[in-house]
Symmetry: D4
Subunit: 164 residues, 8 copies
């Protein structure tokens, strides 16, 4: 990636769109370059499918739970248990962490009845020792494009360190 790539990726985030015309307007990079670069970024696997962004709340998935999971400690357990957790209805993110908790999960649920179903699904996984969930009162940020989490300057200095 060079500076142009980063400016294009950032523009995709800012615009919430991958339209070459709009990226050119935003960045001043000629449209043919934008075309070429987008193709290259897809070939390199940095950007993937162009998909619709889902509005969780409007789609009826407005209840978010964060769950800590402790599992039986065994050789290679974090892979097998982590996969089982990921297959449970409603579980959206599964992180295996370094700290006190084995896994941290984010789930998006449809209704309060689903909370009990989720807890029962955890109870049905043999390797799980204990879970502790907390209810999200307000989601203050959940950004699909991580380039939106950064100033353009920070992206430049961090992804192009040789430019310092």
């Amino acid at each position: 990636m060079d500076e142009k790539d980063i400016r294009i990726l950032k523009a995709i985030g800012t615009l919430g769109s991958g339209s070459p015309d709009r990226i050119t307007d935003e960045t001043g990079i000629p449209k043919s370059t934008v075309h070429y670069r987008l193709k290259k970024l897809q070939e390199d696997g940095i950007i993937e499918n162009e998909v619709f962004d889902i509005n969780f709340k409007k789609a009826g998935l407005g209840l978010t739970l964060i769950t800590e999971v402790w599992a039986e400690y065994d050789s290679g357990y974090h892979k097998t248990v982590g996969e089982k957790l990921g297959e449970i209805n409603g579980v959206n993110q599964v992180y295996f962490t370094l700290g006190d908790t084995d896994f941290i999960l984010v789930s998006h649920l449809m209704s309060r009845e689903m909370v009990e179903e989720l807890i029962e699904a955890f109870e049905d996984v043999d390797e799980i020792d204990r879970t502790s969930s907390t209810f999200v009162i307000t989601t203050l940020k959940n950004e699909p494009n991580p380039f939106n989490d950064y100033d353009i300057e920070k992206l430049m200095t961090k992804l192009l360190p040789e430019m310092d």
Copy 2:
């Protein structure tokens, strides 16, 4: 939303694409209906922009941190503090929770030096009392489309409860 909408939303998740042709192939719903429904779902705000999916790791954002934040307890504090947290470079998700911790954050960083920068950015927010971060060893799941987190049957019974 009715059954057709849910099948279309689920197909978008499965295919990783919003192409009407492919949705018709996947669901058997006539293409003109798919077109009309997609337009309707966008008007209702259930689906939003069609954007490129970013591969975090390949884009150089392969280090994930989960941070618990405790802030000074004050009238309306969770909104003002939550917004400040969301503006820090690298912070991708900000949840205000019911439990012991005030905020839970997910951040995607580029390098180990950024960890210290993130910690210093937290230190610069006056209202923060303390933070505790843990390093994600493996991200076992991080699904952009929450409809992919569900079986089609579950979606049907939960989003169309009147059909029971």
Copy 3:
């Protein structure tokens, strides 16, 4: 429920009485309406038996304990264990919660010797892994009628949302 029902339910709480005469005095709703509505609320199961309120302290049950219970994690365990907990002498409330603790219990006991008996009763339930109890120094509120926990305005806006 409509506004009249809520005003009647709130009056029952305020007066500590279900007497139609007194409810009429309190609310200005005609006595025949009060009669009819009380009957309807009973048919709908919203109000149940008219029972004496017990003064715990004077009845000799002046010692209150709050107990956290952790149980063996197993499929469906929260129902079977929860029922066993509810059958123990002195256990008054049994909550299965989302957080770190499996169950939270409130017990009303008669004497200090009963504390040891309660702990021994917990020890006799096989599925229990651990308990932690704390002694209530002062019960500052324990309201039998939850409508007394609300202002009449709050009840109106929350139970009649369509009126907003």
Copy 4:
């Protein structure tokens, strides 16, 4: 209280009714005695008003939260803070405890939006340092009459110790 009183109190619990006829049927104690004793128990303040029992769920108060509260440590603080907590809409029980947590609260709420209102009401109490709430998944027991929490034998041996 003597044995007859305890049998009457227990019968009120079992029957969910204070009807002298039914108490006589249940206990075999002559109706005139039941009348006299009920009057005496009321004069002694052991039983209070005869009130309708509210079905929380049907009355629209189906969401239960348990909250731990830590407050600023100051001379006499537990009384002033405890009273403020009891005045917050939805707070049903307030216990000042011996353990790690200053107060434990049980609240019955009407809807998920009320959770945020409750948290904001806590934020508005100056003396509160921190709160941690957990969501009740299932209420397995919540008995209005504590005599129902006991076997008749236990009540006899504990409330009439001189009979041992």
Copy 5:
């Protein structure tokens, strides 16, 4: 116990002596009464043997540890485990508590090597799940006679409540 008994018991604490002469000097109670009362208090088991007070530090037992013990949860376990703990060399006090920890122990040891021996003795008790010990930096108070922990007025009002 009446007022005279309490004044005598308190004087024993203040003087660190059970000498009737000195108690008479301290309290103004006639010596013959003191004699008679001491005999009565011994017969009632309120005071026991007259023994030498040991100065822990000078006797070479200057290292104090406080240990929390968690044991396997089983029917009647607190008695059997508690007794085993009390038999370990150096363990001076064993409390079975209501809270999070099963047992709290105070031990007086002779040297740092004994710390390891104590930990190994705990490891040898099968029913113990885990221990956590902390080292006492300074013992600010350790009073053999609990009457010395009270003002005379407090003793009077609390042990003679009928006098209020």
Copy 6:
């Protein structure tokens, strides 16, 4: 101290008495030696006053609390705060510890009402940040003479290391 001293100190513990005759019977050490040694141990401050042992329970002090105290962290605070804690009615032992908690206290109280008084006395000490108390269900051991906590062999090897 030499071997004879240790055997005498242990005998005092075993017998619950400092009577030279009984110590001679127990140890076989000639009475004149016992006399001389006891005098020497007193001169060296190893044994102090000969005092009556109090039976806590029979003396009306049957309720034991263990309290953790956290105080404001300041230069030399542990001495000033520790002394204030020791002066509170009912506080029997005050330990300043190395671990997470600043002070650990053992208190012997007369009645449940005193629990609230003790908590209020803690609230009145300005430097205290927080306390957490737990109720002792059973005191399984509380030995006034620490030599009773040891086998005679252990005492010999530990207090006379040069003999190894």
Copy 7:
């Protein structure tokens, strides 16, 4: 660094010596090469002074404490507080960590009296909120040369990743 450098560094660890002769014997690398490489490693700052290894226990520093420190949260605080901690007598290692605790310290002390001095030195640092120390019972490993912590194969594959 290349393979020869790693083999030399590992040999220094294994032998506990930087003698070129012995390194040649251990590795089979010609002595002149060893000489040249050692000089180069010193110029690059990878190896520093050749110093005597201290035997902590024999040098009278046999008591090890591990301390967690929480400090006032402020802009840049971890540098200023960390330096103050490092200047306290006996503090050997100071780590600023990502987790729940701000700093983790390892200290080597000479005697039990020094524990109290260390605690008092912490109390004298204004920015410190709280400390919690634990006593090391046994140091099972404390390796001055980190190359001794690795198999030679692991060193090769990890430090020479391009060779994979």
Copy 8:
């Protein structure tokens, strides 16, 4: 050790060198005495091999983790488990502690991939129940020579207590 020894040991720390000439310059102790004393200190095992100091960061071991380990509680377990922990690649220090955690470990790793390898190595040790690791953001102090952790006055008063 006498005063001269301590001054020599401290000089070695200050200079980062064991050169007799430089020690003489620093301390004013005649060179022949320095020679003799160094030899004596080595014979007594107080100083050991003269080895190169490794610069962790420059040698490619710049990632430090601190790990808490809880193991199955069993007779003598701390020795067997502690040794197994010490043999894991990258583990540099292993402490068996008195507190809540069984072992505290310091590890120096080469890269982020090694974190997962380390966690897997822990998972492969049967006796381990759970681990919790935290990432060191900044190492503010890590002193190879503990005499450098002390003022010369402190060393004198503590190691030569008879001189007070």
